[in-house]
Symmetry: C2
Subunit: 330 residues, 2 copies
């Protein structure tokens, strides 16, 4: 299928990430063939040193990988096929050429997984923090893009992966830095933060599944993303506390801490969505047959718009609290 989407540009990807590296050149346009069978999907996301990462939480390779992954995760949440990416880096003097090459190499690592081509970009200087902006372009069969606004009362709420791992990993990194002495379990949490994988295959399955499905990725924590779904659809989501699939490496920590990581952490990159409850089982079966994770965590109810968390004793409203990378979480 990829071959249909021929890249025709007048610049070579090499040019962008080698010759123009550190030189401030690269204001080129890239050209690729259009297709009436598909809708185009595009998104852009920026990671800033000191805000989204630090040198003691991600290696340059991981910065690149994650910079692209954040965007590919947005494509996955629409059900799109990732195709191309463009990279703009504003580089400060505290970064050397080798580190910058590694950032690009990290993006290339992830791009290979999806046969994505680097088709353009820009490299400029800045005084202070490194700013990495990635634009990704993908496609989805016409009319098959998945949105947040299509959830309805009676739907089942599901996620396509475990949650809480990334925030737990970040906490370890902030305590001990990149070169801490970590157990195997802890290392799996570190990787959940440093090298999260977007759920592209799950997104593609959901785009092509013949049911009304609403979808979002969990990049800012379950509470925030569930609220986006609820607000966009004008419904209430009830999440059952004991159904949330926590990352296995945080299985033994206190439940309150698990919840904090999963609800108000972020960057787990799993997808959260809703499907009419009568079709949830067959969707779960399809995921299982493909060896993919699928877990029901709640349902869509009538009532005031918002998200509620229910356990055996009580239920409480989950606010749309975002992900503060390097600030204390409440």
């Amino acid at each position: 299928m990829k071959d249909e989407f021929a890249f025709i540009s007048n610049i070579s990807p090499e040019k962008t990430h080698q010759s123009s590296l550190l030189k401030g050149i690269g204001d080129d346009a890239a050209v690729y063939r259009g297709s009436s069978q598909f809708d185009e999907v595009v998104c852009v996301d920026t990671m800033v040193e000191g805000i989204h990462f630090r040198k003691d939480t991600l290696t340059p390779l991981q910065i690149g990988k994650k910079g692209l992954a954040v965007n590919v995760s947005d494509l996955a949440a629409m059900g799109a096929i990732p195709l191309f990416y463009l990279v703009s880096v504003a580089v400060s003097p505290s970064w050397n050429e080798q580190e910058l090459r590694e950032i690009y190499a990290g993006m290339e690592d992830l791009a290979k997984e999806y046969q994505m081509d680097l088709i353009g970009g820009d490299t400029v200087s800045t005084g202070d923090a490194l700013v990495l902006t990635v634009t990704v372009i993908g496609r989805v069969e016409q009319g098959c893009a998945r949105y947040r606004h299509t959830a309805q009362v009676g739907d089942t709420v599901f996620v396509t992966g475990t949650v809480g791992g990334s925030a737990a990993g970040l906490e370890l990194l902030l305590q001990q830095g990149l070169n801490g002495d970590f157990t195997g379990e802890e290392q799996s949490l570190l990787l959940a933060h440093q090298e999260p994988m977007p759920h592209v295959v799950a997104g593609r399955l959901l785009a092509n599944y013949s049911a009304r499905i609403s979808l979002n990725d969990i990049s800012d924590g379950l509470a925030s993303e569930a609220n986006e779904l609820a607000e966009a659809s004008g419904v209430q989501l009830m999440i059952e506390s004991d159904k949330i699939p926590f990352h296995p490496a945080i299985a033994q920590i206190p439940h309150q801490k698990q919840l904090e990581y999963a609800l108000f952490g972020g960057e787990d990159f799993a997808l959260i969505g809703t499907v009419p409850s009568e079709q949830s089982d067959s969707l779960a079966k399809m995921f299982s047959e493909k060896g993919l994770f699928f877990k029901e965590i709640g349902s869509v109810l009538e009532g005031p718009v918002g998200v509620f968390l229910k356990d055996e004793h009580q239920q409480r409203k989950l606010e749309k609290q975002g992900y503060n990378h390097f600030q204390k979480r409440g």
Copy 2:
């Protein structure tokens, strides 16, 4: 024609540049319909405070306008129709919300000219300089995109606008700041730097003109951009010094200074291209009929790859010297 390119996104442009302003939210994807009749053209460009602009050279409105214009100029150089744009801003504490709104308003001003839609973006914080990254998406009839690599010996070299005005304007701004006491002529130079207009209409004419045409925009000065054409095509460009159309407001300054502005300044946003010499007259006529500027400035010759500047006494090689906004030019 625009109506064919329906924008289908799940986010509203308002959301991106109002609610999410200064909040660090906005990692959404946008969706628009594909078309097999067209090639897609995409480019990204970044402007950094202190490198590409300063608060004493551009107003916030002009920063926005120019941030989009730089990119639209890249589309123009491919012959593309501008359609969509996405904006990522990393904002430092020295910028307030009102200024940020004006940056977006400046982009919107220019976008209106071309009926472009803002379809996504990201707003994040940074510690130091403001970093504005704009991604633009356009389309050109299948196979009609113009490139740099198609110039051939025997071609005529042309430009679609006057040059040198932007660099002269920048010099005035660096001497006197935004609130200097400027003559009418000087103000026209300031505007050439602050609010350059991309040559979209010229690019569209050139894309649809039935001749082999190579094309580039003059964003980094005539010397640099002519060299890009020469290198990409593997030819030699001979530019005649007395044919270069200088901005009228620098008509009276010494020739050496005119040349310095035009050759090694930048951001004039005119297009430079080549066309087989036997078709140059009819192309010039077509431009004239449309009320558009067109000027032959030289020819493509056999010989070593590069760009040469010829006057009545001598010829000299023009190196690919870039545009250093706030550094002394040699």
